[in-house]
């Protein structure tokens, strides 16, 4: 159970400035919300590099290897067919499917890996309790602090107002 303190900022510069300050004060996890990705938001809240590229590479190579193995097993080992004297294991003609399958598996890994890393789908979230938060996907710049101790909620709200936030509200998460 924790308290979510939310506040809206008038522009992205003030938002990022506040995010930077609050991240250093460590009163809870800081998160910014914007209708489009903001340059510097990841640094402001201190995120590490994404693991998605490694995931994509591993699955892409794995998919390509599996595709080659299936073709080799089917056409050269399990049921070799002599078509015009061409060798049953003819690597050049296995390349197109190997490449395409690598791309396919890698794309699946990126797609499902993304939702897994983001914890989506998640239809409910405490921030949605605030009606004005609807503007976060249209033109609003919002910031939230997840205060782990309920006693901190009011203090963080005060701090947010001091940093220039409007519409500051506190949502208590039900456990």
């Amino acid at each position: 159970m924790s308290d979510w303190v939310l506040g809206q900022f008038s522009d992205e510069h003030k938002l990022l400035e506040a995010a930077r300050e609050l991240s250093q004060e460590s009163q809870g996890r800081v998160e910014t919300y914007s209708p489009f990705p903001l340059d510097g938001a990841s640094q402001a809240v201190g995120l590490r590099r994404s693991r998605l590229p490694q995931l994509a590479l591993v699955f892409g190579l794995g998919g390509a290897a599996a595709a080659y193995l299936i073709q080799w097993f089917a056409n050269a080992v399990n049921w070799p067919l002599n078509v015009g004297g061409r060798p049953p294991h003819s690597a050049p003609s296995f390349i197109p499917i190997t490449f395409e399958t690598g791309v396919l598996i890698s794309a699946f890994a990126i797609f499902f890996g993304l939702w897994l890393l983001l914890g989506l789908p998640r239809p409910y979230h405490p921030v949605f309790e605030v009606e004005a938060f609807r503007s976060a996907s249209t033109d609003g710049f919002w910031l939230s602090v997840e205060a782990e101790q309920p006693s901190l909620g009011e203090k963080v709200a005060e701090r947010l107002r001091a940093l220039g936030a409007r519409q500051v509200s506190i949502v208590s998460e039900q456990s």
Partner: protein, 461 residues
């Protein structure tokens, strides 16, 4: 000097017209989704449904009666089925090109048209996919194309170009769908938050997956989107290359040619851009999107059309030259038969539509004239269909042995399948226009912010 005049001097035709902010852009882009259904939409939708009905009728006849209901017969074993397949799949190439390649090249004019092109890609690939499956003769056994362990103990023959095609086209469709959906999620969240009824909020909310637009989400999202674009870029080039292998690795004069892969890819981009223009020009007017799809976008697309048109023209020239230079009498015959044989009208139509018509775009006045652009784009669509007709039917109908020469005549089923897929494509597209924002609101807002910052910097300096 006042700021508006200075903007005009810096950038004569802007990417986003007028002074917009995030709120006004959201309103412009979402308005077609929120407004009441217009009578014009219903009219076109009914027309599209009629076409879809014709498609269903033609497919039923094909299934009940067999491929005999088509005009194909030896020597023209591949006729409209494959012509339509290659035509549609070519149209489907602009989507990923605009989305992925132009994203990696940081071409900002893609932002207003990428969703358009991606949506078009999905439906075009659906239309394309129908033809090879129907052409199987017994389409209910299509799953034999997939390598699965079975009691018949048979496997697909992977040394043939046709299984390559299956994998390439299904991969292309799947990756395009994932890319399209990932791009749509922030817009679904925006639709969810802007919707005025509970039903809309729930439906858009389900598709939005609970997107909040938080820094942690954007952090992973940006990487995922870039990675998908990086994968889609070689994919788009490989798909039409593999389609061209269907022809290029065979021995038939007119098909057996190493120029096919690059020439097919250029042709695919050419026809894809032509189809985007064909759809974008009426849609931007009808839906009031002139502020976000400006003449700058149309100008740039016309430049791509001109460039790829020249590449395709070079392909035609080289085919003819190699036909003569090879010294092979069958190759030479294939070339002369195209230009002077019984189907010569189709060949000259293709030269007119694909090589001559786009030359008007050397002039800036023509590139920014929407009516001229639309007419040329439609001509290019016709020309690219004729190109596939010439490659497939004209090469097949007179091959090595004069005793086996024959003429090909399409039946009503052939024509209905072509017209029916156009109707189906239109129906799907109209439904998208009705329920989804056809321009990425997220990317347009981001671009608007960048453009405004640049303007601010320019006026400060």
């Amino acid at each position: 000097m006042d700021p508006a005049a200075r903007d005009n001097l810096l950038d004569p035709i802007p990417l986003i017209a007028g002074r917009q902010d995030s709120d006004s852009l959201t309103r412009i882009i979402f308005n077609p989704v929120w407004e009441k259904t217009r009578p014009g939409w219903w009219l076109l939708f009914l027309l599209g449904l009629g076409g879809t009905g014709l498609l269903i009728a033609a497919i039923s006849v094909t299934l009940a009666q067999g491929i005999g209901s088509w005009g194909n017969n030896v020597p023209v074993a591949w006729a409209y089925g494959i012509t339509n397949f290659v035509w549609w799949i070519g149209i489907g190439h602009a989507g990923t090109l605009i989305s992925a390649i132009l994203l990696l090249l940081q071409q900002r004019w893609r932002n207003s048209i990428n969703r358009f092109a991606e949506t078009m890609t999905l439906f075009a690939v659906m239309c394309a996919g129908m033809f090879p499956v129907l052409h199987l003769g017994r389409p209910w056994f299509f799953y034999w194309l997939i390598p699965y362990p079975n009691r018949m103990k048979v496997w697909p023959q992977f040394r043939s170009a046709l299984p390559w095609d299956v994998v390439a086209v299904t991969t292309y469709f799947t990756v395009s769908l994932l890319f399209w959906y990932v791009g749509l999620v922030p817009d679904f969240a925006s639709l969810r938050d802007a919707s005025n009824t509970r039903v809309k909020r729930i439906v858009y909310g389900i598709f939005a997956l609970g997107w909040r637009g938080s820094s942690r989400q954007w952090h992973q999202y940006k990487i995922a989107y870039l990675l998908l674009a990086a994968l889609a870029t070689p994919l788009v080039l490989s798909v039409h290359t593999i389609v061209s292998f269907d022809f290029a690795i065979s021995q038939l004069p007119g098909w057996h040619s190493t120029i096919f892969p690059p020439y097919f890819v250029a042709g695919a981009i050419f026809s894809g851009f032509a189809m985007v223009l064909t759809l974008v020009i009426p849609a931007r007017r009808a839906l009031g999107l002139q502020e976000v799809i400006t003449l700058k976008h149309i100008d740039n697309m016309n430049k791509v059309l001109l460039a790829t048109g020249l590449m395709v023209g070079y392909g035609y020239l080289m085919e003819t030259f190699i036909g003569w230079y090879s010294g092979d009498k069958y190759e030479l015959f294939a070339v002369t038969n195209r230009a002077l044989g019984p189907y010569r009208l189709v060949y000259w139509l293709l030269i007119f539509c694909n090589v001559l018509a786009p030359q008007v775009f050397w002039s800036k006045g023509m590139r920014t004239n929407v009516i001229v652009t639309w007419i040329v784009a439609v001509l290019v669509n016709v020309g690219m269909w004729s190109e596939r007709f010439v490659i497939i039917i004209v090469s097949l109908h007179r091959d090595f042995l004069p005793s086996s020469w024959a003429m090909y005549r399409p039946t009503w089923v052939d024509w209905s399948l072509l017209a029916g897929t156009i109707g189906f494509f239109g129906t799907c597209f109209l439904l998208t226009l009705r329920f989804l924002p056809i321009i990425s609101a997220t990317e347009t807002k981001e671009l608007n912010k960048e453009l405004r910052e640049e303007r601010a910097e320019a006026s400060a300096a």
